[in-house]
Symmetry: C2
DNA sequence: GCAATATCAAATCTCGAGATTTTATGGTTT
DNA sequence: AAACCATAAAATCTCGAGATTTGATATTGC
């Protein structure tokens, strides 16, 4: 029986294209497994091993792994196979700052040029996210919330017609999501994200370029602080 | 006999890693051929055909093509093979603006935090570029100048320690280079690039963040204007 | 006992051929 | 003549096995 959650997920994912080739299929599954955290940072990805788990040949596995290098989710060491990209606070700091720069600029342009269509879609995405945040159980993985959050951020910059900005932001968003999920395994983020989203939404509708840019930057950076705090807590608990 | 140009090129390219695997080798050769313009935009890349030209198997060819998708130099259409990414003024405009945003930010940070080491290397790179520009024959492909130009831009942002910014800028720079070379086939860019480089260099040494940021943006955008002009000229000549 | 070398298993890289899908061809119908 | 459908040709996708390289273990020499 299909649950209500399943239906919501299907609707949210409808934009994702269904893979018509084995390579794409394995690529998407591997990507999900890495972002989800099932494949841990630094893990060696032996094609010889994985081909059994994903029911494909070694060559197909290799091609899928090659595609993941583009997303910087796996690293290819020549003649020495693939590994899941390692994580570090320094890396996440870099991701956060680069994303803040690009997304702030995109949102400003979006606010400047977005028309009725943009404003309407944004309002819809915001409402969907608000509902998801009401129902959300704190400190817990929530795929549906993740989808709504992503869609809200996408809707914010949808008024800015730049394929390249969107491409880079997609990559960075996936990286952020990975860090967020890894951090969730260890500690709870005490933080009212919803209030931040409300403020961003209101500034966007008010067409306040400067304010929406600064709010987005702050919003993105707070996640970094949370992950940093988690990391520190983990380190301390390891020492004790 | 190795010419003076050959030696200079070898020195300039020494940073590029020599491929230890066939896939990487073919990948680099294909990439160069696309940027150089030998493989024209929109061309179908049939693995069955190309494997003969590059002396590898179809599977190896496929993997190399997959890697090029990451650079957005080729596009993969599921079950329908690969093609060389098409070009358009709209695309180059997007590339230019995105690069302007990222590079201006990177240069500002670089100027703010760069130390003696950065300043010294920048001075060296500027001098090398100046020499190359003195010798350069106008309206002609010049691989050595391309290398020096790239190195100068890299040196400018070297004081800003952001792997992600650099990664994205590398991709965008390759795209720009491709457009520049395609445009060169058709018409001459009447433009004194050297003066722009001098101004940027002086502002950087003077640690004038705002000015160096604006100069870089302008510098990047001028290339767009040149390509636009070339395109218009070509269109007109086609009509008449 | 330690370093250096030789040997061997495991994993990666590469290939050529078979299975599947797309594209081109040509004949039939409206 | 244009549209439609079957057939054939070409290209892509996928596989399993062979060739190379890497990493680990055991042996030798000092």
């Amino acid at each position: 029986m299909a649950s209500s959650l399943d239906r919501r997920l299907d609707a949210a994912r409808s934009s994702e294209t269904t893979p018509r080739t084995l390579i794409q299929d394995v690529y998407q599954r591997l990507r999900a497994d890495i972002i989800q955290g099932d494949l841990k940072p630094g893990t060696r990805l032996r094609a010889e091993h994985l081909k059994g788990l994903y029911s494909v040949s070694g060559a197909t596995m290799r091609e899928a792994l090659g595609l993941l290098v583009a997303d910087s989710l796996v690293i290819s060491r020549e003649q020495r196979g693939f590994i899941v990209s390692p994580v570090s606070i320094a890396d996440f700091t870099d991701i956060t700052e680069t994303r803040a720069t690009l997304e702030a600029h995109a949102v400003r342009m979006s606010v400047r040029h977005g028309g009725d269509e943009w404003e309407s879609n944004l309002t819809g995405a915001f409402h969907r996210l608000s509902l998801a945040e009401e129902r959300r159980i704190p400190n817990q993985k929530d795929d549906y919330w993740e989808e709504c959050n992503k869609k809200f951020h996408e809707a914010l910059i949808a008024g800015f017609d730049s394929r390249w900005s969107r491409h880079f932001l997609t990559i960075l968003y996936r990286q952020s999501e990975r860090y967020r999920r890894i951090a969730l395994d260890h500690a709870p983020p005490e933080r009212n994200v919803h209030e931040e989203h409300v403020a961003i939404f209101e500034a966007a509708i008010a067409r306040d370029e400067e304010r929406v840019g600064e709010l987005i930057k702050h919003h993105i950076r707070v996640t970094l602080d949370v992950v940093k705090a988690v990391e520190t807590a983990v380190d301390n608990s390891n020492d004790g």
